[in-house]
C-alpha cells in the first residue's frame, strides 16, 4: 500500500507540474481536470474516501466547467 501511495504522490506532483507547463488555457483546463482526478485517487489511497468524493465532484467536474465557461466568455468579448 505504501508503494501505491508513493506512486500517487509522484503522479500528483507530475500532474501539478504538467498543469502549470500547459500554456494554452483551453488545454490547461483539461489537464487540470485530470489532475483533480489524480488528487482524488491519492486521497483514496490515504484512506480519506469522503474527501476523495468531494475532490472528484468539485475538482474534476465543477471547476473545469466554470473555467471553460469563463474562457468562452472572455473570447466572446475579445472577438467583438
Amino acid at each position: 500500500m505504501i508503494w501505491f501511495q508513493l506512486l500517487m504522490f509522484l503522479l500528483v506532483a507530475a500532474g501539478g507540474t504538467g498543469t502549470v507547463l500547459t500554456r494554452d488555457p483551453k488545454k490547461q483546463v483539461i489537464v487540470l481536470s485530470f489532475y483533480g482526478m489524480l488528487l482524488s485517487i491519492l486521497f483514496l489511497a490515504l484512506q480519506a474516501p469522503d474527501v476523495a468524493l468531494s475532490e472528484l465532484a468539485v475538482g474534476a467536474v465543477a471547476l473545469p466547467l466554470m473555467l471553460l465557461v469563463a474562457i468562452a466568455n472572455v473570447r466572446k468579448k475579445l472577438h467583438k
Partner: protein, 249 residues
C-alpha cells in the same frame, strides 16, 4: 517598478517562502502518524454513542453540527452571490446579449451515448451517497455535488434548451432554500423537543440500518438537497453567460 527590481523582489520573496515552507514541512509529524487525541477518541466512542459507522458524518452533523451550519451557509451565500451579480449584470441597461450566440455544436455519437448511458447510473449513485451518509463514505455535500452535476450530462449529450428544460430554475432555487432552511428548522425542532439547538434528540435506531442515527440522517438529507440546488443554480447561471443559438434545432 522596473523589471529588474521586480525580478529581484520575486527572487527574494520566493526564497523566503521556500524557507518558511521547508521549516513547516520539517516540523510536521511523521507520515501516517496522528498525534491529536480527538480522532482516536471519536473512533472508539462514536459507533456506540451515535449508532453510525461513518465517523466523519457523525463529526460533521452531530459533534460539530454548528460549524457545519456555518459551512452550509457559505455555499448558500456563494450561490446566491453568483446569481445576484450575474442577473444584475444582465439586467443592466448597457448589457446586450451577444450579437451572434455560439452555434449549436452537433454532439458526437460517442458523447451522446456516454451521456445517456451515465445519467441514470450517476443519479442513482448520487442518491445512494446522500442516503447512506451515516453508513458508508460520502454524505450530503458529496452526493449533492454529484446530483447537481448530473444534469450537465444532458447539456453535454444534447443541447442547452433541453438542459434548461430538465433543470428548472424554480426547482433548483426551491431546493437550495428548503435545504438551507431545513437545517435550521431541525435545530429549532430540537429546541422545541427540550434539547439544545441542533442536539440529536431523535431515537438513534439500530446501528447499520438505513433509518438510524437520529437527526444526523435528517440534517444530512437537508444538506444534500441544498447542495444539489446550489450546484444546479451555479451551472445554470454560468452556462447562461455563453448562450447557444436557440433556433437551429
Amino acid at each position: 517598478m522596473s523589471p529588474r527590481f521586480r525580478k529581484w523582489l520575486f527572487l527574494v520573496s520566493t526564497l523566503g517562502l521556500a524557507l518558511l515552507l521547508f521549516w513547516a514541512v520539517v516540523a510536521l509529524p511523521g507520515f501516517g502518524n496522528y498525534p491529536g487525541p480527538y480522532g482516536d477518541l471519536l473512533n472508539s466512542v462514536a459507533v456506540y454513542e451515535r449508532h453510525v459507522t461513518n465517523i466523519v458524518t457523525a463529526v460533521n452533523f452531530d459533534y460539530r453540527v454548528l460549524d457545519t451550519l456555518g459551512e452550509e451557509f457559505i455555499l448558500f451565500a456563494a450561490a446566491t452571490g453568483v446569481m445576484l451579480l450575474l442577473r444584475e449584470q444582465r439586467a443592466a441597461p448597457h448589457y446586450r446579449l451577444p450579437a451572434s450566440p455560439r452555434a449549436v455544436f452537433a454532439r458526437s455519437d460517442a458523447a451522446r451515448w456516454m451521456g445517456l448511458g451515465f445519467i441514470g447510473a450517476l443519479m442513482a449513485f448520487g442518491i445512494y451517497i446522500v442516503l447512506h451518509a451515516h453508513l458508508t463514505p460520502g454524505g450530503g455535500f458529496q452526493g449533492g455535488a454529484i446530483l447537481g452535476s448530473t444534469s450537465l450530462l444532458v447539456y453535454l449529450a444534447s443541447k442547452e434548451s433541453v438542459y434548461r428544460r430538465v433543470t428548472p430554475k424554480f426547482l433548483a432555487e426551491l431546493a437550495e432554500c428548503a435545504g438551507a432552511g431545513g437545517y435550521v428548522v431541525i435545530g429549532i425542532g430540537a429546541l422545541l423537543a427540550g434539547g439544545a439547538f441542533l442536539q440529536n434528540v431523535l431515537p438513534l435506531g439500530q446501528t447499520g440500518n438505513l433509518a438510524s442515527s437520529g437527526t444526523i440522517w435528517l440534517i444530512n438529507f437537508s444538506i444534500g438537497v441544498e447542495v444539489t440546488g446550489a450546484f444546479s443554480i451555479l451551472f445554470l447561471e454560468f452556462i447562461k453567460e455563453v448562450p447557444e443559438r436557440e433556433d437551429s434545432a
